[in-house]
Amino acid sequence: MNRSKAHGGWAILALAAGALAAAAPAGADWALDFPASASDLGNKIRGLHHTALIICVVIGIVVFGALGYSLVKFRKSQGAQAAKFSHSTKAEIIWTVIPVLILIGLAIPSARVLIEMEDTQSADLRIVITGYQWKWRYEYPDHGISFFSNITEESQAAAVLGAGLELHEHYLRDVDRPMVVPVGRKVKLQLTSNDVIHAWWIPELYVKRDAVPGTINETWFQAEKTGVYRGQCAELCGRGHAFMPIVVEVLEQEEFDAWVAGLTEPPAEPEAIISNASADAGSGLAGR
């Protein structure tokens, strides 16, 4: 192996890194991990991810360690003589059984979280979410509320080639009307779509589910902290797929009640309440 040759690659890499440092805007994020969770279930999922990651890293250290050791120790250039062995039943049993045990150890906690994740029983609030090309509609059947949620015009303008937007912090993740829920309550989501498949996703709430035309998918979340949580459509749905953000505002129960009252008691903002009849704007080919 020619060592001086290998340096060429690193030199180019260093150059690239330099160029990057010059180009990158200030306030870099450099997030390396799942976002902090705003729900208990999310914490469990995040923990599961960490467990799996650690297991992989440990196995990786063992495997790559053994590999590196062999490559250094058994080099021909160092006069290594090749042994002749070509099997060992004992070794093969060991490296079949140990991974099986590790996997069983990993499957059990996963299954537990899975079962909890799928339990949509006894929810406090139900919201029907419908995906459209390219916006969302939120309906609170128990409160008679229903409205569309669009990307803000400011961000929407970005969907034009060469718009050259001024980029702000929530660029592409701002909507005109967020979905609103109370804190500490189990919210059951019923997802469907009007045209193609979309997926409703809030990373910090650790909830993602496809919105499939013609069927209802159910999932749930329970936010433990008030605040604004941002996500976006997670299933390719055509030209505007990158431009259908999701924002959830988690309020204290009283604030939520006030929000509901503001929408349901007359005089309500007229454009806020959209009846079911006018809801099928923008129906695509699939709606035939």
Partner: protein, 288 residues
């Protein structure tokens, strides 16, 4: 295992594969034009088909001539047989896809639409009142009201015809092996007749479905699975019948010997394959 001295026949350059590919290209192009509503489409499609037919005569003719010239060893014969067997297996997997769709629709999709299992929300929110029964054309009754196809009458008759044809081709095969040319000729002819009769009744059944039962390709999932499965089967029977006719003509010309009759055997296998598919169809599409 191969013999020590290889007398495996490796043909020299052949134009036919290229002709085949070119014809397939033209067919695909024609099909696409036709589906896009171009007038030229059909003509181009048939041009490609004509190319394929010419290719078949050219290619298979070469193979038959080489065979008669005694260029093929037993090993070449084995290659042909194994090749044909695996081709038929790939066809089985093609049908498996459509049967899979049928099973999925019947045991999962339709019951879910009716509110079973994970479909409670689907039924109550989107399709209230829809009851899952098979056959169905879905909650929106796509294609209008229809009557299902019973299994008595024509389908039963067709089952008998195809099963009988499997018997006749087997008798013909035995006759071939015992050098009983007359018997071979007659029973191959009988197989052709039974196959053509099957196709005739299949057409009658389709006309009945369209005119009397309002059962169409567009009759929801039932019509889709019914016509796609029986239709692809019918297409395969047609192909098989054409191959049988060619085989019969070859028999009349004195082709095939008790030891070497790959051409005959391939067609016989193919015929058994369409027969087995039909039995599955009869059970899962008509009876159950």
């Amino acid at each position: 295992m191969a013999n020590t001295k290889t007398d495996y026949y490796v043909p020299h350059g052949s134009p036919w594969p290229a002709v085949a590919s070119a014809s397939m290209f033209v067919m695909a192009l024609g099909g696409a034009l036709w589906l896009n509503g171009s007038d030229a489409g059909r003509a181009v499609l048939f041009l490609g088909l004509a190319g394929l037919i010419v290719m078949m005569f050219g290619w298979l003719g070469t193979v038959i001539r080489e065979n008669i010239a005694g260029l093929y060893s037993g090993q070449v014969d084995r290659s042909f047989r194994q090749g044909m067997a695996w081709f038929i297996f790939s066809e089985v997997m093609f049908f498996f896809g459509f049967f899979g769709a049928l099973f999925y629709a019947r045991t999962l999709a339709v019951p879910w639409l009716g509110g079973e299992g994970i479909g409670t929300g689907t039924n109550s929110v989107l399709w209230p009142g829809f009851e899952a029964d098979w056959p169905t054309n879905g909650p929106e009754a796509v294609g209008g009201s229809f009557e299902p196809m019973g299994w008595g009458g024509l389908p039963l008759l067709n089952t008998a015809l195809l099963l009988a044809s499997s018997v006749t081709i087997t008798i013909a095969h035995h006759a071939l092996k015992n050098s009983n040319r007359l018997r071979l000729n007659l029973f191959t002819l009988a197989t052709v007749v039974l196959g053509v009769a099957f196709l005739y009744f299949q057409v009658v059944e389709y006309v009945h479905a369209y005119q009397d039962l309002n059962l169409r390709l567009s009759t929801g999932i039932y019509g889709s699975t019914f016509f796609m499965l029986t239709g692809f089967h019918g297409a395969h029977v047609t192909l098989g019948a054409i191959m049988l006719i060619v085989t019969w003509l070859r028999i009349a010309r004195g082709h095939f010997t008790p030891n070497e009759h790959f051409g005959f055997q391939a067609v016989a296998w193919y015929w058994h394959f369409v027969d087995v598919v039909w039995v599955c169809l009869f059970i899962f599409v008509y009876v159950l």
